[in-house]
């Protein structure tokens, strides 16, 4: 598979670069990596090299950024990435039991992906939803006030879509 943005994403890329003064296109790096991850699911070194080329910066400038920020996946992940918050406020609201429930339900450990490639479980640090805990991020959105029943529903919904 050759690495290339779809025409729509390429247009989006142009729009992003236009937000900065001439010569400051490196500023587009974070948004462009988001764009790449949206299309390819994760950031392979080929993808990062492609982004470096688009922005006329060196590949290392991309690698060091991609490895710094927690949202960039440097390895393939399941179609649905469950990122469960485990920091203090979520912890006191029962995050640990939700994490254990998901592990048992999907039969995977934290950091693993289900055999069908659908679900990956990850624990993350505070996502700013402390008042609506326990919670997790799945893709673009937050799933809040989690209970075992709600987790069941979410998983069933995603399974049905496939």
């Amino acid at each position: 598979m050759s690495i290339q943005f779809t025409p729509e994403r390429h247009q989006k890329f142009e729009e992003i670069v236009a937000r900065y003064p001439q010569g400051r296109q490196k500023s587009a790096l974070l948004p462009v990596l988001h764009l790449a991850q949206e299309q390819f699911g994760w950031l392979s070194s080929d993808t990062m090299d492609y982004v470096a080329g688009l922005l006329s910066i060196t590949p290392i400038e991309v690698y060091e950024v991609a490895s710094f920020y927690s949202m960039y996946n440097l390895k393939p992940v399941g179609k649905y990435l469950f990122e469960v918050c485990q920091t203090g406020p979520c912890m006191v609201s029962g995050a640990n039991s939700i994490i254990n429930y998901i592990k048992q339900k999907l039969n995977i450990e934290v950091g693993e992906t289900t055999e069908d490639g659908l679900f990956t479980l990850k624990t993350v640090e505070c996502l700013g939803a402390c008042g609506y805990a326990p919670m997790m991020q799945v893709g673009k959105f937050y799933k809040e006030h989690l209970t075992p029943e709600k987790v069941d529903q979410i998983i069933a919904e995603y399974r049905n879509q496939n």
Binding site: A28, P31, Y72, V92, E125, G128, C130, G131
Partner: protein, 450 residues
Amino acid sequence: MGRKLLLHNAHVEGIRTYEVYRKTGGYRSVEKALKTLTPDEVVEEVKTSGLRGRGGAGFPTGMKWSFIAKPEGVPRYLVVNADESEPGTFKDRYLMEYIPHALIEGIIVSSYALGANTSYIYIRGEYAWIPDILEHAIAEAKANGFLGKNILGTGFDLEIYVQRGAGAYICGEETALIESLEGKRGNPRIKPPFPAVKGLWDCPTVVNNVESIAAVVPIINDGGAEFAKIGVGRSTGTKLISACGNLNKPGVYEIDMTISVEEFIYSDEWCGGIKGGKQLKACIPGGSSVPILPANLLLKTAKGETRYMNYESLSDGGFATGTMMGSGGFIVLDEDQCVVEHTYTLARFYRHESCGQCSPCREGTGWMEKILYKIESGNGTLHDIDLLWDIQRKIEGNTICPLGDAAAWPVAAAIRHFRDEFEWHVNNPELCRTQNFGLAHYADEIHVPA
């Protein structure tokens, strides 16, 4: 019922749209500022208001603005810090999600005051759905002549762009944020030079929190003096508090800083008391970095006076017996919670978020996490508690940015006020895996640690 300046129209149907927002009086401050005030007059109003930065540090916003350098021919930037990542804090999210135009309106007036023609909203990457809301609001404002070229025919130009981060607490520190906005790792810069002189792309830059910028709207509408009348002492205006933990009604509240902590926790108008009728054990009132207090010292100061929800009262007693207003992330722990475990999760958080530039923070946060885990899981020794104390002391004040302090303070305060709970873990290695220490004396008459 306290006065509301930011969330007064939060429950108006359709307030997210330009049309409804405008009908409820939105964008009046832009008309007033651009047509009747000079930029310096806007800065003066903000100074008069006494507004203090709402991101956590509490630095006076007007003063910060007055530091901006104005070299000829060099662009200036306003960068809005929407990287809200301090555990317990989710107020800016609420504001942006429900009343996006309040932020856009504040940005226009603030940019005018600073002479900035481009503004970036740097929002944490995880709030992935909010940029769409903000960009829609920006497009609406532009379509109605409040953004773009020659706003309201005054000759003032402004463009606002939204930039998403990608998961890094450190980018809430203003120089790390600027680095990130330049497409780099979020490593804080050594100051000086301060961003007001050399910020984004080495140009003069002001970085302000979302809530601070939104507060500029009522300041301009009603005048800085009117804003300063609300609240008490140097805690002027209103403050958004995001309440979480073991509460009946967690959520985002706007308070006028004259109510007591007790009222805020127990009154039905606010948090409605502790969930399940349990007892209050401890609270971190200003986001995870500020010192945790046991119930007795939270509700009353060491002098036995009522503690209020404002900058001065929360910090009464210094770190020995007080805490901080911080970001307004109000984390409540009930009698069943374990302070050691809670502190461990915070230590893990700071280890995860340390950028790695400074050795005391990079190494120290990892050591603190490991030792806390050891104690929490029943394998600690009494010496470990002293070691923890020693490590946090060596991090504090020895790093480029305040993340080091932010990581040290929660550990220090937990040991300062809950040392017997740490010792109980050490002395009851089996029991502490299945049981918690409980409430002990933390809700008793005031107990001031030595």
